[in-house]
Subunit: 337 residues, 6 copies
Amino acid sequence: MAATQQAKTRVFSDVDFERKGKQATVLRVPQSRNDSGWGVVQIPITVIKNGKGKTVLLTGGVHGDEYESQIAIAELARNLDPADVQGRLIIIPALHFPAAMNGTRLSPIDNKDLNRCFPGRPEGTFADVLAHYVSAVLLPLTDVNIDLHSGGRAMDFVPSTTAHVLDDKAKMAESTAIARAFGAPYHVVIKEVDAGYTFMTTCERNGVTAISSELGGANRVSIPGLKATRRGIMNSLKHLDLLKGKLDTDGPKTRIVTVPDYGCYAFAPVAGLFEAYHPLGARVRKGDAAGALHFIDDPRRKPEIIAYGYSGEVWCTRGQGPVVAGDPVAVLVADQR
Amino acid sequence: MAATQQAKTRVFSDVDFERKGKQATVLRVPQSRNDSGWGVVQIPITVIKNGKGKTVLLTGGVHGDEYESQIAIAELARNLDPADVQGRLIIIPALHFPAAMNGTRLSPIDNKDLNRCFPGRPEGTFADVLAHYVSAVLLPLTDVNIDLHSGGRAMDFVPSTTAHVLDDKAKMAESTAIARAFGAPYHVVIKEVDAGYTFMTTCERNGVTAISSELGGANRVSIPGLKATRRGIMNSLKHLDLLKGKLDTDGPKTRIVTVPDYGCYAFAPVAGLFEAYHPLGARVRKGDAAGALHFIDDPRRKPEIIAYGYSGEVWCTRGQGPVVAGDPVAVLVADQR
Amino acid sequence: MAATQQAKTRVFSDVDFERKGKQATVLRVPQSRNDSGWGVVQIPITVIKNGKGKTVLLTGGVHGDEYESQIAIAELARNLDPADVQGRLIIIPALHFPAAMNGTRLSPIDNKDLNRCFPGRPEGTFADVLAHYVSAVLLPLTDVNIDLHSGGRAMDFVPSTTAHVLDDKAKMAESTAIARAFGAPYHVVIKEVDAGYTFMTTCERNGVTAISSELGGANRVSIPGLKATRRGIMNSLKHLDLLKGKLDTDGPKTRIVTVPDYGCYAFAPVAGLFEAYHPLGARVRKGDAAGALHFIDDPRRKPEIIAYGYSGEVWCTRGQGPVVAGDPVAVLVADQR
Amino acid sequence: MAATQQAKTRVFSDVDFERKGKQATVLRVPQSRNDSGWGVVQIPITVIKNGKGKTVLLTGGVHGDEYESQIAIAELARNLDPADVQGRLIIIPALHFPAAMNGTRLSPIDNKDLNRCFPGRPEGTFADVLAHYVSAVLLPLTDVNIDLHSGGRAMDFVPSTTAHVLDDKAKMAESTAIARAFGAPYHVVIKEVDAGYTFMTTCERNGVTAISSELGGANRVSIPGLKATRRGIMNSLKHLDLLKGKLDTDGPKTRIVTVPDYGCYAFAPVAGLFEAYHPLGARVRKGDAAGALHFIDDPRRKPEIIAYGYSGEVWCTRGQGPVVAGDPVAVLVADQR
Amino acid sequence: MAATQQAKTRVFSDVDFERKGKQATVLRVPQSRNDSGWGVVQIPITVIKNGKGKTVLLTGGVHGDEYESQIAIAELARNLDPADVQGRLIIIPALHFPAAMNGTRLSPIDNKDLNRCFPGRPEGTFADVLAHYVSAVLLPLTDVNIDLHSGGRAMDFVPSTTAHVLDDKAKMAESTAIARAFGAPYHVVIKEVDAGYTFMTTCERNGVTAISSELGGANRVSIPGLKATRRGIMNSLKHLDLLKGKLDTDGPKTRIVTVPDYGCYAFAPVAGLFEAYHPLGARVRKGDAAGALHFIDDPRRKPEIIAYGYSGEVWCTRGQGPVVAGDPVAVLVADQR
Amino acid sequence: MAATQQAKTRVFSDVDFERKGKQATVLRVPQSRNDSGWGVVQIPITVIKNGKGKTVLLTGGVHGDEYESQIAIAELARNLDPADVQGRLIIIPALHFPAAMNGTRLSPIDNKDLNRCFPGRPEGTFADVLAHYVSAVLLPLTDVNIDLHSGGRAMDFVPSTTAHVLDDKAKMAESTAIARAFGAPYHVVIKEVDAGYTFMTTCERNGVTAISSELGGANRVSIPGLKATRRGIMNSLKHLDLLKGKLDTDGPKTRIVTVPDYGCYAFAPVAGLFEAYHPLGARVRKGDAAGALHFIDDPRRKPEIIAYGYSGEVWCTRGQGPVVAGDPVAVLVADQR
């Protein structure tokens, strides 16, 4: 079977997705370098198969500077006993591995955002080849994809799960149910805007149930975010019957919220240093000042005040001081109606 | 007078430090570029002189990614009415201006940390020339230097003022009194380790009273940090009689603390992804785990636990996820005995 | 309508091409950055619609170091009163905006020449996405494209308009008529060599009348070039009935010239420092020395003399001193026969 | 004819592949640069045609740091008298010319490995455009491609010719016969793994007989490797009847060997400094230590010993000290059974 | 003698400054590189000695993008017959050789402006070591230094010679006499501002008569600038009795002008695209608009008009379109009073 | 004592040079980074002290791409039992640690060659600070410095020890005696040319006996070079009575040779691809061709033949194919007379 898979990809591996038990190995993505023509990038992968059940693809590190998922998923890969599993878990703690090793959203190899390269191309650059492997080899094996994100350098978030608004209400109910089990404060359902180069959209086009998250940010390892991630992963796998046991329901009850219109996004009109006026989760009203843009190069210039275009709660704010023109500096959510 | 100053520096300016009123102008630091041989770096400076009183040099942005001071000091420069001042205020919101424009600790011009270049050299690179101007021209005019810092990308701090332990107890009492007026939760008095290339040490060698701070970090504009900075500056200037009015004492009472020994520093022994176990300000005991170092490149490898070497309170923790060998990941303070 | 457009592109905007009056806004091209995953590049666009008439797409800055068009087109966007317009003007002063901000032909984002990326691809890199937007959204709205160029760093030109030799004589007559109105000293009609990745070729394949220019060069803002640009734009719009008023015919009478064969190009056979022997516009004969290639690394080596392969007038010469092997150093034009 | 060729490529040249005699000229690959929009990369090509016979495409420098082929093929191009040739020789000493000028495997223009870009795309980056020219213009003219490689920085090899295991036994016999004439110590027949982006695979898909080589390495000009290359080229051309004369059979008798399974490759599991235990050509057994991986960053850490997974002879070992995870450090060959 | 010289410098050479006749050789400046620990930078030098007379040090290429001097001085080195010389000529066509090979003002080795590194330091980086050699070895041999400059990328100049205003009137008369012989349209006498890191100041401190120039600019090889350079060098050497023959007095009579005060410099207050309003040499009055600064990033923003602060003639204007804050955009001269 | 040392350096460490037994720790060199202001570079150091005897400072990795010494010295540090030592061993396997981690001669921090930075400066960049620590803290403790080198990328050597020709014959006899014990094929005694910025010269100025080596090269781990290194270190320490036991005298008898004059160096006059004609150790005569310089960019250009300027044996040849003007390509040695 592995041989068949590899016929359709440039990525090779000694993993056997049909073998029972636990395999901890690597995907080998060819990457010719100046000092190693037959060089590869080795991406750790753990596959655990036992009994009967769904196949869950659990991925972190699609963006290299989102750390909570990388830590919690690597822990799971290390600690899980195959005897405790019913079904198949394909675990990749740091999918865009060179980006993760670099601690940046994009990888230094081709400067691409893996989550804008789906469904991928085998003749493209590194991120394209990798996305193609996921689409061509992994997704056909997968029932549910849990792909965990955080805010990276760009943003800091109220810990949340996220999913797309889908026409297929049954599919959407599945992701909502996983989100309720996961147990983050918010589950944010979003209308997809940038059409179709993301991992989640590719999952949906392949009939794979997909859920994602935003669990911290600001290029840090968030203490509460990591706690929510660890609990959320275990709860989700229990909900999907891959693991046994009761859900940990110590956390907040998950609220289903949405980003109703474009006015929920506050943008920086020009470059500057952004001072947010509200902490995450604050309730704000349309027209309120979201924050100030300061211009350090000219102390005589007054700061520019940026207003909210909607009434709701602050889902995320800018994770680093400096912004450039067009950067989002805050996004609001509101209860779904 | 300006002419005399310029004889001892390569930096030139139309500022006249003896003129009454408010001047908002620039320092011009020569920097020959490939596309502009007579190019300069223009650093905004505001000088306000009125009545009689001390000369305070108020600086921010010695490190470009420490934002609270840049914002609050630029506001002061913009808004202050000379009629309200008694004495002279030399205000430079972003001293290492190219670093501030780049949003990084070091400037992209010569990759140097300005705060390791004092007292400077006129024949050196950009940071050396700039440090030399401060030492040779500004410090001889100055009674008190308030040079405000935050944690930058590296660290996140409990908002604090800082000063050196000095043999001259009278001098030290002056900085402690300013710190009490400033009103941050901690005032941290530190024994200087790296001998002598910092701004503060150069102030002390020139008989200038010096106080500094750590007011946020993690490459963000901290909401409470900025509030503390704004209040602290006004309180300090009132304390020094440059401004009139009552101190704002709404904040916490400042505790004088210290970093008693080397055991207060927790270091990363190898590179990894650091998960802190405690929030800022937590009380911890020697031997407690400070956090875990995770190794995403090898999910089979157990995290390395880093222990505290002292009992105290968490003053700062690592401001970004990834660390390299030798990086501090947390520093403790303890009450002064 | 805007919604429909955006379905076929990754670029979004609040511009409404059907709305009457003047809209000054931006195109937002998604560009995920390490510090802003939802980052965009904002490209200023002004749309003016009034009465009835043609739609003219007026673009500058396809190459970032060609300045005359950027200045003159931005002026037009700022100053034009919609009441004076009959038809629709889509004005983009700096189409390859990141290149323009960088002052370079190629943009620093993906190092591509936008004018080699047409008709574009939505899944490509920045320049591909941008070219695709122009081809898929703007060209279907457009009757005439006036895309103004200069020589950039590479070349310095006698101010000229340019157009392709087309099989469709009617189409070609349209561009020639615009050129006569524009009023540059030369109108150069060229046989397209590099097949099909340019903006002009894409216009032609979409039935859009296209005219371009070379209006200065050498990485400078040319005083006569900018004068010719300002007058040429106004004259062209009057000719196309978008603006009212008499043409400014103060300038030279436009001569229609051509680049008859490959011998019109003088190339550097090896790298060196090029000294041109003739000023722009000089009449020269086949076999005359065009200039000398000097070898500063070896003062004992004689300069290499480069000869003209045609008799004609000097249209352009190298805009910067150093050349590499294969660079054109001069191009001749001759009267059309 | 040239015109027809150029219709299907972006590369242009004044070469006429049908002209009798010797032409030494260049391929001109358009490459718009910031300082030369009409810039090209000029790749030297020599075409020699005389009498009747096969067309051989002789290429070196597909990787820029493989020098023996570049030197020997340039000599041949310089020295060969057309009168001595029967047939047509298309000679390109340094196909990936910018990589060769940089002395690196990949070119600095787009950081691509030309031998992973076949069959190429005219709308891609430099390496894609160049590969497309070879596939679209040169291969249709070619009977036999001799494309000579060495180990580059990555590896050091026993001088060898190489060819693919093909289903078409007649084709395979042709390449084996050329290899026997070439006369390197080994002729290594390999099962192609990475499916289809190489020059050799593209030759085979176009019905062109293809042979390659590994003739030295370690980023050096090998004295014995260059001797083998010079003799091998002359012998091959004599065998193919393009040149007259007796083969030079002074060298070793060529052994036909193969890389039987994946165990022939020894890989570095992690990054380190590799010490090989055996010289090239040594006979080793499965389980023997191939070498040690040293960790200079931690002198307390024991080296990691890497074992051979097969019994055979050492074909190549790592050509430079440092390796990263996944790099091959040695490859074995065994006699074909 | 050479041995003695080399004892005081890190630069070595086989040149013998006392030998009669013509030596064309190189200075070897040690520069350890990653791929050549014993690497050097070889700087061509020609020494011609014959009969009795002054020692003239003739240098070009102190800034790598100033081409007229490099071409004309290399020609002189190549063509001069020692029998025609009386005295000693030390000729270095491209003193900052790595900058000249790079076509940039600064060299890519250490990013320094050689003309800000005098008198140099043997333990510094490349430019410091080179400046030190000039100061320690060449200047003690030298009576007159003619160091020719142009405007580089930054500026475009009316062809001019330049010299410092000196207290020593006799010395100053010498440079003025050379300037009159040289025969450029202007001879500009300047008060030195940036105290003491330039080549000219170092000459003066060593009692060497020094003259310099500005002979073109805008990163081009100027046709009239090169003509003035060629004539000026020959005239100067004749004036100094190193060459025989009548001065070529075809050119304009040289006017002695000066830059009377700081108001002669027009600066860009912020970054933008500079449009000059006047050609070189134009007579302008204080308060006239010098040009406009355009803001392409915001077409709604009006250009900023920059005014002259003096009445005089336009000596130079900005040589490239984009400027940053603090860049000079035009400089005026006025007749000396 | 450690405290006193550290007062004169910016480097700190917990090592106690007076403590008995074995300490494996790090030197901490402050290096402020953009993401870690209090960052350091940790350089592994092992100190072993027992009984009475000399202090030997044993260093490798002064150049990061010289691997044999790094491996053998790290082994010694790991394996040596303090009970077997008489005296004190200060062992630093990779002194220029960031260069060693980068596998390059220079470090990526400041691009300096550590062996051109002695005796160092505490206010300089990284390499200066490190060299200063060695000079100010380690050398005062040291009797003998054994600093082992190889050829790096630049050169490939016959395994050799090296020392300077000294006026102090007794000192020179000491290094010769160590060399005879070390037992490399050659011991090369060299007259120092570049005066005084090397480690060895600084040792000599401090009265420290110094010996060095060239033990391989070409950026590889040499099998025979590493064998010679391992044996040479043990033999040297036995000779110096730090270790007990008989010398291993299996190797060749060491010949004392010298580089008698400048003609022993063969240089590349221009850039090209160097083909050496002789293997290491070959006997050659003045005027013989040392090799050919090939010009791949112009196959019509004949190679340039480089001749030897002396009769002797080939000590080293170029370790990589490409060379630039002025690079040495071979060096000869001859028996001392």
